[in-house]
Symmetry: C2
Subunit: 195 residues, 2 copies
């Protein structure tokens, strides 16, 4: 019978994911060796293979987990209301979610090209699903006459690029709080789509 207590698998597994996440974000997937990850966990390299079939699967698992978290958290928070209210909610959600997971966000955007083609396809599908949520809000706003944009798809991509950009400069304890940053971006996005 499998052990349920005292087993290390419940500890080592998450530790490996945490170490891989940190190192991939800091140095990049290709520049991090399995031995480095193992060393950070306090284990030999061979032990990693009890938790992942290979390095590629470890990267994919981190990215897939992040995208699932993103879409899951978004689904929970979905609100009704005017397009303006929904837009504000999306912006606030996006910024807070991303600021809380800088390493995951960094990897999700930087390591796409290190995914195998099949894995890349899966992540891209999730990313598009997330973008579609914003695009739907923008399109609803255009129909309602609240927003005026020449192209809803481009507006979507432009807004997301702008929002995700916060992760490149925001540091906790810096000049601005999360609340302030969120408010500033809500206003800028709102104006950029306004009539």
């Amino acid at each position: 019978m499998a052990r349920t207590q005292g087993s290390h698998s419940g500890i080592t597994g998450p530790k490996i994911r945490a170490a891989a996440l940190r190192l991939f974000a800091e140095c990049g997937y290709a520049a991090v060796s399995m031995r480095q990850i193992a060393s950070e966990v306090g284990v030999q390299a061979g032990a990693l293979y009890n938790y992942t079939p290979d390095k590629q699967a470890l990267l994919f698992s981190l990215m897939k987990g992040h995208m699932d978290d993103l879409l899951g958290a978004r689904a929970e928070r979905q609100v009704e209301g005017s397009p303006e209210a929904q837009l504000r909610d999306f912006v606030d959600f996006h910024i807070r979610f991303h600021l809380q997971r800088p390493d995951e966000v960094f990897i999700a955007y930087m390591e796409l090209r290190n995914l195998s083609p099949e894995n890349f396809e899966k992540i891209e599908k999730l990313r598009r699903a997330y973008e579609d949520e914003l695009e739907a809000i923008i399109q609803a706003g255009v129909r309602a006459g609240a927003f005026v944009v020449p192209d809803a798809k481009i507006a979507t991509l432009a807004v997301i690029a702008m929002l995700t950009g916060v992760t490149t400069w925001y540091r906790p304890g810096g000049r601005l709080s999360e609340d302030e940053v969120s408010e500033i971006y809500c206003q800028m996005v709102r104006k950029s789509l306004g009539g």
Copy 2:
């Protein structure tokens, strides 16, 4: 005396830079070997070291060259006029310049962490100098009452993130021309900063 004709250095040197640029952009600096670059040029790996002291210097040279081009081209195009006119010019310049150099742009944003600390510092300084050009325009617009932003620095970073985002989805020959893309972004940026 150095040969001036028949010498391969005038050919091989640029070829190496072009191959490195393409491969770094496609696979990432850490995932590309000197032998791969040499193979693409049609030469043995050892020959590369007639043109670069090491792999790191090759990356830095590409990034430094790109930033110098960016700041040089910007300096040439500088215009006088109202903050609105200067903003429009900056947006148009940024989009066109970046769309014409997708590989350089990709590397300049993705491979920062693979620079040695000294090299990173130099590139960051150039990047900040470029950002300062936009920030000066925004500040002038705020003083003139043409723009209303809660924080000029954040507005600068938000706009640049939005603009640079085009390189992730734009493909020549796609649905929209460079002219159309530039016009769309000019309007969105203009509105996002407006009062």
